[in-house]
Symmetry: C2
Subunit: 209 residues, 2 copies
């Protein structure tokens, strides 16, 4: 058991992890330009020196934050199995799981929005591989639905993924302007079930229509 090693005052992994954790919050909170390196260092048990020691620059730190955020979110997604369901139930379950997943990780969505403002220039190559399984899973369900004759045949997996993502992301990402414009809180607890069902209805109606 290495679990209860004597605590070290110098621990590469712990220091890096702590910096990443604090940096994730700071970037999600204030955007890339708005985030302050000094502030991140301040909230860590280590110093700014170490931040540059491990990540090289503010930009390098942001790249690491993004990479870790995508990895974490996809890892959590893969624990769910929907393949044993019939196609209609499977795609509805997948859509609704995506819905819950996005609601549970608003910081991740903020990071993605921020990265898009910066034209995706911090996206690491490795992220494509991490995200491929999400599309493959949809592909399997679509194929099953086509073979069963219940889904229309001209739907692409990536595009369906976009339909689902757009709904889930918008609700979280554009919550504040929507509230100001239409006086409606998209994340109100008492509307959540309704929005989740609506998404399932939309996806199923489109595929079976």
């Amino acid at each position: 058991m290495a679990a209860t090693q004597p605590e070290r005052s110098r621990d590469r992994d712990r220091t890096q992890g702590e910096i990443l954790e604090v940096a994730t919050r700071e970037f999600a909170e204030h955007g890339y330009s708005g985030a302050r390196v000094d502030e991140i260092a301040e909230r860590t048990r280590t110093t700014k020196r170490m931040l540059y020691y491990y990540f090289g620059s503010k930009e390098g730190l942001f790249v690491a934050v993004l990479e870790q955020a995508y990895a974490a979110i996809r890892a959590a997604e893969q624990t769910v199995d929907v393949d044993h369901l019939d196609p209609v139930a499977a795609i509805r379950a997948l859509a609704e799981l995506t819905f819950d997943h996005h609601e549970a990780h608003p910081d991740f969505i903020r990071l993605v929005s921020i990265e898009n403002i910066h034209r995706g220039e911090h996206m690491a190559e490795s992220l494509a591989a991490i995200n491929a399984p999400a599309v493959e899973r949809i592909e399997r369900i679509l194929r099953a639905g086509r073979e069963a004759g219940v889904f229309r045949a001209d739907v692409d997996a990536v595009d369906l993924h976009m339909l689902i993502s757009s709904y889930c992301v918008f609700r979280v990402a554009n919550r504040h302007t929507w509230q100001a414009l239409f006086d409606r809180d998209l994340l109100a607890a008492d509307r959540r079930d309704g929005y989740r069902t609506m998404l399932g209805d939309v996806v199923v109606a489109y595929l079976t229509g």
Copy 2:
């Protein structure tokens, strides 16, 4: 005719308009924190002094930029009439017009994303009134569709507006991360018609399903 007045060296409207125009681009380009007041002033025929004279602060300028952007986009929308069409054709036309509209105004969508990163704290009260007609128009179409017995009865106008907006906004706003993750350009010209039709299909299938 006041059209060809002798050009004035001191023109309140022209100066304000020029500052707003340049500021809109700068904020959309770099985000709120990333935008530089000096850079905005530099690209204007006037100076930073005037920017503060008319808008008070960087924040005041951003509020003005947002307000003008929303006003412009809604004004353009209202020139289109879809009320004379039958409900199914009307809602499809509306969705597809929204689609084209968003594609044509990426800077506006960037500003909205940026404002959401900042939790909507710059949204002026007046914006709600400006945006109300968009929902009212959907409301009319929904009512006609219900009365004709072709639409399901439990759909709310604001929520349908969200469904349409989410699809249109995501395509533009999340273009860069999507490209990096799935190697697909959501704004590629040869896919535009397909995406537009897909949105119409989704909305109509949901409402009539």
